[in-house]
């Protein structure tokens, strides 16, 4: 039994919309092991992004507890959450979300700036990471001078800047064609092999089955099923 990195215990996220309540997540309990590659699947509006944002400490649950590295993060202050986001988590978004007026390199340097790391180290780290995602010749390019796949690779480099324990990716291939998406997934796989835990939201079942080790299926805010891979075959728990 390997070490647990993320634990959700009876987590609810409820939005009050006037008279009605929207239960974006309802009584979800999940344990994620260190080094896992998790795919979260489910129809639109089933609460995938909501769950991912909670794990990423971008949001707080209405009820329940979330543990990251055994630390309860469900009642932290904003600055404590920012600390966690900056040090333990790396985000990758569907729309890449690079800062448009910063170059690729500056985008990768930005999370390091927020951690108060000095310029020389920021630069060498950014160069190293852009090397890793094979963009060493695009360092001074601005996001609008890069293809979608290249932008997403910059985003991966940026997510890796502070050596996070967990990478959270919300439909990272959603805006990319299959081939480019494959390449992005390859990088995620590589990271996973080195021990980084990856949680990815995706609509693409083939992609999930090919790359993930665990699949969580959500429906209407509730966990519908958990699937584990053993070799090439999948087993419902």
């Amino acid at each position: 039994m390997s070490e647990q990195i993320i634990k959700l215990k009876d987590v609810c996220k409820i939005y009050q919309m006037g008279e009605t309540e929207v239960k974006a997540l309802y009584n979800v309990s999940i344990d994620i092991e260190k080094g896992d590659f998790v795919a979260i699947m489910g129809p639109s509006g089933s609460g995938k992004s909501t769950g991912l944002n909670l794990v990423g400490s971008l949001d707080l649950p209405t009820l329940g507890n979330i543990y990251l590295d055994s630390q309860d993060i469900s009642h932290l202050t904003e600055s404590e959450l920012a600390q966690i986001r900056g040090q333990k988590i790396g985000f990758i978004f569907q729309q890449f979300n690079l800062i448009p007026n910063l170059t690729a390199k500056e985008n990768v340097m930005l999370p390091l700036l927020f951690q108060g790391i000095d310029k020389e180290e920021r630069e060498s780290r950014a160069e190293e990471l852009l090397n890793l995602v094979e963009l060493q010749d695009r360092m001074e390019h601005y996001p609008n001078q890069l293809s979608g796949g290249q932008q997403q690779r910059v985003a991966i480099a940026r997510a890796l800047a502070n050596n996070p324990e967990v990478i959270l990716a919300d439909e990272p291939t959603g805006n990319l064609d299959t081939k480019t998406g494959e390449k992005v997934l390859e990088f995620l796989n590589k990271l996973n092999e080195k021990g980084t835990t990856i949680i990815m939201v995706t609509h693409d079942q083939d992609l999930a089955k090919e790359h993930a080790k665990t699949i969580y299926s959500l429906k209407d805010g509730s966990l519908e099923g958990v699937y584990k891979r053993t070799g090439k075959s999948w087993k419902k728990l």
Binding site: L58, R85, G86, N97, I99, L110, P111, L113, F114, A159
Partner: protein, 402 residues
Amino acid sequence: MISDYFKLALKNLRKRRLRSWLTIIGIIISIATIFVLISLSLGLEKAVQEQFRLLGTDKIFIQPKGQAGGPGTASSVSLTKKDVDVIEKIQGIKKVTFWTAGNAKIEHNKKIKFVPIIGIDLDTSDLFTETGAYEAQEGRLLKKGDFKNIMIGSRYKNDFLGRPIKIGDTIFINAAPFKVKGILKPIGNPTDDSLIYMPLEDFRPLFDIPERVDTIIAQIESGKDINEISSSIEKKLINSRSLDKDNTDFIILTPEELLESFGSVLIIITAFLAGIAGISLLVGATGIANTMYTSVLERTKEIGVMKAIGAKNSNILIIFLIESGLIGLLGSVVGILLGMLIGKSIEYYAVEYLDTTLLQFSFPSYLIIGCLLFGFLIGTISGSLPSYRASKLKPVDALRYE
């Protein structure tokens, strides 16, 4: 580290170049206005002080009360040579001179003008010369023994009276011929520079003013207390003119008093103009606040992204504060340069076309640094509310914003 945030802010401003500049223009205008006004009032103060330095601090001026229209206008009371004699006898007085003014029709080469004429006492004219710091640019100053001679202001050298006047020319004053002996160096204002000075002996019969004295200038002996002497002049004159102590008909001015009254007028003018400039600054500041609000709204998603990659509220606050501060700073840099340009142009125009050296601008370094800091401060203050709002955005909400 903070310099990295400055670079970040600069990049953001450059990205929205047009809007940044439009906002900056508001600040440029107000800072330029403030800069020009302050440098003008500093320059004026310097000019006034310089005038008084030339005047010296050892002279007392005595004039009849109620000379509202300036020297030479008919007033009910007047001083006479008798008063001069009284003052001359006072302990501590070194020398006394006096003058009387009148308006005359002057004529040269069929060109006619009406100008003020000053009659000066040639026996004591050296004190008069010292007081006004008169210097001859051509010819010489009037001296004892001159008769039917005049010295004239610098404007006559130009075409003030038809064609330029030269030394030795004859000017008819109230139909009597006078010979030009000297042309004075420019004083700096057109009125003074078009005056004509003549011996009092010629002045009295010409204007039919046998007695009147318009201004008495008394110089005190060195080391004496000017205020003490000024009060003994007052006492003696009250006695000799048999006046009531609380109802005198003359005034005594010392340079310090003159300087003070000038100074307070200057402060009032400056404060008034600064008030107007302040309003324009308020408009500029509103512009910054508006731009920053728009910018926060536009970049909501970006703020969400920055928070997702570890930005604390304080990081976001600093980024936006510096950005708005930079708008203020850039505005004041350009505003100061513009202000200097305007100041120098006014100075040049004043000398060239208005014949005055009184409009002078002074740009001390504390004014420049003060304006720069002020601009940055105005920027950060007007940007503080939008920046605070940006920093408080909830990360999920900001990320969802399209």
